[in-house]
Symmetry: C2
């Protein structure tokens, strides 16, 4: 397998990009879908922001270093990765906070309708943000399984809120088809791109999506807790009224008026003062992913995951795949079910193979193709085979659960 892996690496046009990231010695990192690796250019850029822009130029950097425009600038760089126009995307706050803004905005655009439709088992924060509005009697949460979504789309639905690539299984929704169905039912659509933006080609405008949010710290390699992004289709910009109407979303923040007037464009999604350290780190990650190109990344991640499955099969590993078997139907990840998933995950981590565990029984491997080689696949498969065969995961050491996994 190793020989075949090396041949694949030799023919991989993206192989060289691994050098642009710090991938620690002795680690096979299959968790880039949870926290992306550090781009080698990031520390120097942050040092510059800290020592020069903050330390030396101080308050003046809001103008001279362009801090004030950074949320729109980085948003504009994310836009082409998700099929958006630059002025339709902005970086701000967290995914959760942006969900709240856009769910609220959508509800205000559909008076008389209160239902926000999602699926059970969606990433929890998506569902919780609906609940926050429901407790104020501003929304009604409705959850319907994937195959029941169409019939659940009735005249009460204001918004369909779905995660494009499922966090647990990687299964993709057909964005175009579901957006059409929602529109036919008179509803708006909000796509959570946390597990697809920067990993695979997304074309929000071709699908006529209304709203989207996405994560900065997974496939965009923006660092732990990096700020998130939000998309509003151009046709809705003027009508998008979000309740977190902080001063940075004001048309004239520095007029210090007592009355709120939203900025004319996507800046109206801003709320408080943007975090410049996080934004600056995110910009480096976005630049790097934009350079590699999402089409090439996705093509490679499909090859990586298929090769990983092949290696497992050849090693005689039998473990239940919960991700779609067709690579075109999933994001850049593979998830397996095993009742001892937690302990197996810990045993792999002890061997330097970092995947993650998702309660209660899912072993999840992300294939961030910008810094993974095919050789990593062969090695990871070998380790998984050895762990399962040796039963080393049954050791007590691997059965104590830590806070975060």
């Amino acid at each position: 397998m190793i020989e075949r892996a090396r041949q694949l690496d030799a023919g991989d046009p993206l192989a060289e990009y691994r050098e642009r990231f710090l991938v620690p010695e002795g680690v096979i990192y299959l968790d880039g879908n949870s926290l992306g690796c550090l781009p080698k250019a990031t520390p120097a850029r942050l040092e510059e922001v800290v020592r020069e822009e903050w330390g030396r130029d101080l308050i003046r950097s809001w103008n001279t270093a362009g801090w004030i425009d950074l949320p729109a600038k980085v948003g504009g760089k994310i836009a082409p990765l998700i099929g958006a126009k630059p002025h339709e995307v902005i970086v701000a706050d967290s995914v959760s906070v942006n969900l709240f803004k856009l769910i609220s905005a959508a509800l205000a655009m559909r008076p008389g309708r209160k239902v926000v439709l999602s699926e059970p088992g969606n990433f929890p924060t998506d569902i919780y943000m609906i609940e926050g509005l429901e407790k104020r009697d501003l929304a009604t949460r409705r959850l319907a399984a994937r195959d029941k979504l169409h019939e659940a789309l009735d005249e009460d639905v204001a918004l369909l809120l779905l995660t494009h690539a499922h966090y647990k299984t990687g299964e993709l929704f057909d964005m175009g088809e579901l957006t059409r169905a929602a529109h036919e039912a008179g509803a708006l659509v909000l796509w959570d791109l946390s597990h697809s933006g920067g990993a695979l080609p997304v074309d929000l405008n071709a699908c006529e999506a209304d709203f989207a949010v996405g994560c900065g710290y997974k496939y965009l390699n923006g660092g732990p807790g990096a700020p998130a992004y939000a998309f509003v289709a151009e046709r809705h910009l003027e009508d998008t009224q979000q309740p977190l109407s902080g001063w940075m979303g004001h048309a004239k923040p520095f007029a210090f008026s007592d009355d709120y007037a939203p900025a004319p464009g996507i800046e109206r999604l801003l709320c408080g003062t943007p975090g410049i350290l996080g934004l600056s780190a995110l910009e480096v990650g976005v630049d790097l992913i934009a350079e590699t190109g999402v089409e090439r990344l996705y093509a490679k991640s499909q090859k990586l995951s298929e090769f990983f499955r092949q290696c497992l099969a050849e090693s005689g590993v039998e473990i239940e795949l919960v991700s779609p078997t067709d690579p075109a139907s999933r994001g850049s990840q593979l998830s397996f079910r095993h009742e001892e998933a937690y302990a197996i995950c810990q045993a792999l981590i002890a061997r330097g193979v970092i995947g993650d565990f998702r309660d209660p029984d899912i072993l999840r491997f992300g294939f961030a193709p910008a810094y993974l080689h095919f050789e990593d696949m062969a090695e990871a498969a070998r380790h998984l085979a050895e762990v399962l065969e040796s039963n080393e995961w049954q050791s007590n050491e691997f059965n104590k659960r830590a806070t975060v996994t």
Copy 2:
């Protein structure tokens, strides 16, 4: 004046702390109330967080580096600066977002009352966040001038929301007296400490305050757009239901349940994934301010501002002071009114004296005593006298307004 300044510096127990900050050569920085200076320890700490915690240890750092506990840890360090218990304070999001959470929570705790009372000319974001709720019919905004607040506190008021030290004038509210008055009227109180936390002794619990928010990038020196903090009095923790119910505020975030259950303590104020770079930089700033001690800082800032006024008087400068003349009635700043405030501010900046301008006619100087010397006061006063006397501010160059000032 310079001689007297040097004597004062020689007797100042805080003088040595300037060495712990990077204060650029040739700059007299009187804008620490807008963006605090860079602590010299910050770049190395960030380098460690980026290269080791993120780059080398990757996802494991949520446990091994304690990222998951960082919001509560840094909040616990801010607590003694504002008269709170460690488990009553958490770092999260921005001041604006935290205002939204706590205004909403307060309204839910006062059913039948909808008015949120504030003053006109409060920092705009405080007022705008009330508006965001008012547009959803969840709140009614009421603004009453300082001397009319008592009579405006009627049985419709759910919450009194005030900024302790006014951003424009530095004037302080009597926190204890107003909190009592609000409670007598059956209302709750939310204090915005953005211009007082870390600058002067605040005693939330002695005043029986209910809620508070504050800023990380001013007197706490956390860096541009640093995350903010929020306080909930222990007696309210269990009843505080905030609508931004993201996954990090869940009692068991990693159970990935479809149903939201708030964390039992202050963690319920968390929403999305915390930004670790910003939090880590803030921790360094907080540690440094905690070491200097807010009592000593405030005593020095009062001496600095009084000495500055003396220097101005001795230089024959006549300019209208809009801050209280009694130093005990103001925060660590002095603001002056001049119809050409903008151009004067620009002319001072060109000379290396950085204060700021607040629309339409306010020239604002902040005295962050951890890194200012009395000699800076004498020099700044001399520059202001020269600028006013020479009329150099009338040059065209200083009359073009930039985006941010």
